[in-house]
Amino acid sequence: MKNAYNFAFFDEGSKKEIRRATLKAVAIPGYQVPFASREMPIARGWGTGGLQVTLSLINRGDVIKVIDQGTDESVNAVSIRNLIQKTTGIQATIDTLEATVIQSRHRIPEEPLEEEQILVLQVPMPEPLRFVESSEYKTKRLHGDGEYSGAWLVLYEKIMKFGKMTGGAAHPVLVHDRYVMSPSPIPKYDNPRLDHSEGIQLFGAGREKKIYAIPPYTRVVSLAFDDYPFEVESQEGRVCRLCGARGVFFDELEDEKTHEVYYQCNDSSYCLKRLNQGGGDHV
């Protein structure tokens, strides 16, 4: 393949720096490793952290899948996938099980990761203590001391105000009994799936210049109180209008004419796979 730029867009020096940060991240689960964060052809805040991690990983023979809030077809996912393909020539897929590297914004695919599969999550705000402490200098010290009163306080205040731990996404987790970590804005439904995953989970925050990781088979616990246990969004009684799936994470939609509320699998490729396998009851 002839290109006017290096394989996977970056120069080799940039790749090396990101790779070194990623290796440290895997060695210290949940710890945010600073990195230089290069200028990318998309704006910061649009997935540049994830994209940089992905581009440093990709090699010939890889198969990439990119999703944005569960779908392979959103503009953001398509643009990022096109950029990766254009600069590497590798194959792309929408099948979770076929992909060697999956880049995602705000969802973990419905089908569990397998060993050696790599999930790269885009992170807008990596610091779980930022709501209570604006200084990076201070939050780094709080992490160093394992001083997480601030993270507990945020949850406590929600309970005092609303009677439960509100907040639909990015519920903080404790990784390997040491670091409190933001799992990126995934729904609470996905939090338990971070725990003891068979695959490798990497997190890239381009604007905030941080890379962190959860290695496979690592203990990940969502923060909760004894009397206010962690709860995922209830999907009870919901059925996918297209494929008939139950017990997965759903999008809630409204019929414009009848105003009837209906549900569809949020993971569109999982839904499509079920339909192709004849799992659809309604189509």
């Binding site: 790779r19 895997v26 780094k140 010290r141």
Partner: protein, 201 residues
């Protein structure tokens, strides 16, 4: 950099990432297509790891009989900055280093700080072969239940590693590479016990 080396280092990095993610598992660097047009005082696998990890932004220290020659070669090829044991980002321990030198490399390596635990050394240690002694039992992140490994004669050094890694998250990370290009990693989170005794190391 030659185009082939772009892909070889990408492949080596992925194996390193897998090795670091699944401690104790051995991964092969697959170097059939790899060509170096120069000679080096250590294995090709070690050279590939050096190419993958080191550049002008990091410092390194080589330990072993041919350390001087190796240091010259590495800094010429990668622009990495030669440094001493206590400040090196990467410590490369050659196979011919004495036991005392290997021990010193571990003991003097930097472990980072509580605030910046990533500012710690990675030791890349060369072994002849890993062997089948299967004397060490590993537990920790990346290991489903436990993993049993051999370290090609470097087992005894693991007590020193334990010493360095006492105050997690500070600590050192280690990568081992043999003549066949097999690599195995022991990040700081991995707990090691000797099989023949119940002493934790």
């Amino acid at each position: 950099m030659k185009e082939s080396l772009v892909h070889e280092t990408a492949k080596a990095y992925r194996r390193l990432l897998l090795a670091g993610s699944y401690p104790g598992r051995r991964f092969n660097l697959d170097m059939e297509a790899l060509e170096f047009d120069f000679t080096m005082p250590f294995s090709r696998g070690l050279m590939l790891l050096i190419y993958t990890l080191i550049d002008a932004e990091v410092s390194f220290k080589v330990v072993g009989k041919s350390a001087q020659e190796a240091t010259r070669l590495i800094s010429r090829l990668t622009y990495g900055r030669p440094s001493d044991l206590s400040s090196a980002d990467f410590i490369i321990v050659l196979e011919d280093a004495t036991e005392a030198e290997k021990g010193e490399a571990i003991l003097k390596s930097k472990v980072g700080t509580l605030i910046d635990p990533h500012r710690s050394a990675t030791l890349v240690m060369a072994v002849g072969t890993f062997g089948e002694k299967n004397d060490l039992v590993l537990k920790g992140p990346g290991i489903r239940e436990k993993s049993v490994i051999s370290l090609g004669g470097l087992e005894a050094l693991m007590t020193l590693r334990e010493e360095k890694n006492r105050e997690y998250p500070m600590g050192i990370d280690m990568v081992f590479v043999d003549h066949a290009g097999e690599i195995l990693a022991l990040p700081r989170t991995t707990q090691i016990e000797r099989r023949s005794s119940s002493w934790p190391m």
